[in-house]
């Protein structure tokens, strides 16, 4: 992996991160989120997402794709 140039936020010393939250009653373990964002989403033994840690700025684009791709609309990205 090649080193990335620091973003504007990183140069200021603050990084915009976000949290992925699953709407559990809606989730039906389709698993697209884990395919699109394996850096932050694994699957448990029944195929339900296991979110590991906050989403750093460099992964925000992929996280938004995962949110948009969820066929159940069961994934949300909470900016903070």
């Amino acid at each position: 992996m090649t080193a990335q140039a620091p973003t504007a936020a990183q140069r200021r010393g603050v990084e915009r991160t976000a949290t992925l939250r699953v709407d559990w009653p809606l989730c039906e373990a389709r698993g697209l989120c884990a395919e699109l964002l394996p850096e932050r989403v694994g699957l448990d033994e029944w195929g339900y997402p296991v979110v590991t840690g906050r989403v750093p700025e460099r992964l925000l684009g992929l996280a938004r794709e995962a949110v948009a791709a969820c066929p159940r609309q069961a994934l949300r990205l909470i900016q903070s």
């Binding site: 939250r21 699953v22 559990w24 448990d44 033994e45 296991v50």
Partner: protein, 408 residues
């Protein structure tokens, strides 16, 4: 059947009966209080939610009053946990003390809409509160009361499940993206509190913070707490001063064995652990123990806590709303792994793996509460757990292997 004992504050003067005339004769008219005074008083004596989560009432009230739309008040007497009887008891023996809370807060917020949620499987609770509301209507009080009946299941009293019920949908938890106090019933700010919490708010406004605090055992623990004491035989609902030593609540014999505090979502206190503690949410939390909604279950001398926990986890797995995958799949698997341990053929590693899988992965706290119970078992009675892992149970005849126990 449940026995209700006379208590110092909320359960005082039980011989007066539940009527409004007696309530008014003894306590007089409800004082008017403005919002700032109620928030300040609740903050001063640290009124916390008595449904189990223990959230500060003052914060909730302040949030609900700031949202810019008319606040909806909800008295939650659903008490979904079958081992808990304190809200049902309050509603039956002192319904007007429960209603004083929403009446005084509704006036302070200048709102009129109050919802009351009662358990359908305990119809006497709803009947008592309805009769009390009718008395107040006859006396000219002008709030709009709406009654709802919660379904007979463990998670039906959970806040979001109650809001679903009020909205006419299935009485099951959904994901909360915002606190109810910000966006609850029909998107409006909603002050949803447990029946006991409302009764404390009413008593606090009537007494003022200093006199209310004086009902506690010391300066650190103001007011009182309701407990449901269970174990063998009938449950007893008892009101105790906050900060009362557990040695005054339970017998030395009961304290010498493991005690389950905080109910089915609670924690096992190791043998003797409560003997040096008091009925204090914060003091118990510092020892990793839950007070929850005040359910305390003692153990008979012959009762194995490992087997007792398995029966509870089996029950809780069956009480999953079955909407969230990790709970629907994980809790039965957890119960199965615990059964294997009880039967002497299991591995603790599998139990711990499932605890990690279910925690914080649901719309409500049902999986977290179940995991809390199992984790506390592993830390509170490690010798009993080890005995089972080795194929034995110290509570049975010591020379008999478990594998034969069921075959004889």
């Amino acid at each position: 059947m449940t026995a209700v004992e006379n208590g110092p504050l909320l359960l005082a003067h039980l011989t007066d009966g539940p009527g409004y005339a007696a309530h008014q004769a003894r306590f007089g008219p409800l004082p008017k209080a403005d919002l700032g005074a109620i928030v300040a008083a609740a903050d001063a004596v640290a009124v916390r939610g008595r449904g189990g989560a223990g959230f500060p009432f003052a914060v909730k009230l302040q949030t609900a009053s700031r949202a810019g739309r008319r606040t909806v008040l909800v008295v939650n007497a659903a008490e979904g946990e079958p081992a808990s009887w304190k809200d049902s008891s309050l509603a039956q023996v002192v319904p007007h003390k429960v209603l004083d809370g929403p009446v005084v807060v509704a006036a302070a917020l200048r709102v009129r809409e109050v919802h009351i949620v009662t358990p359908v499987e305990r119809p006497e609770v709803g009947a008592s509160l309805r009769a009390a509301v009718d008395e107040r209507r006859s006396a000219g009080e002008r709030l709009r009361w709406t009654f709802h009946e919660a379904q007979p299941r463990f998670v039906a009293g959970q806040a979001r499940a109650v809001l679903e019920l009020m909205a006419g949908r299935e009485n099951l938890p959904v994901t909360a993206w915002q606190p109810e106090a910000v966006a609850g019933h029909r998107g409006r700010p909603t002050l949803l509190s447990n029946a006991e919490t409302w009764a404390h708010v009413g008593a606090l406004v009537r007494l003022g913070p200093d006199a209310y605090a004086a009902y506690g055992r010391d300066g650190h623990n103001p007011g009182t707490t309701l407990l449901t004491l269970g174990g063998d035989g009938d449950a007893v609902v008892r009101e105790v001063a906050a900060g009362t030593p557990w040695t005054e609540v339970l017998t030395a014999d009961q304290l010498s064995r493991p005690v389950l505090t905080g109910g089915y979502h609670g924690t096992w206190a190791p043998s003797g652990a409560l003997a040096t503690l008091t009925v204090s949410r914060s003091e118990m939390a510092a020892q990793g123990l839950a007070l929850g909604a005040g359910v305390v279950i003692t153990s008979a001398p012959t009762a194995c806590p490992v087997e007792r926990t398995l029966r509870i986890v089996d029950y809780l797995a069956g009480e999953s709303a079955r909407r969230c995958g990790p709970c629907r799949n994980g809790l039965p698997a957890l119960a199965g792994s615990l059964r294997s341990v009880v039967d002497g053929i299991g591995q603790l590693g599998r139990v711990r793996q499932l605890l990690d899988i279910v925690e914080r992965r649901g719309a409500c706290a049902h999986p977290d509460g179940t995991a809390r119970l199992v984790r506390s078992l592993l830390t509170a009675v490690p010798e009993e757990v080890d005995a089972h892992l080795g194929g034995w149970c110290g509570y049975r005849a010591p020379t008999r292997p478990l594998s034969l126990a069921g075959a004889v």
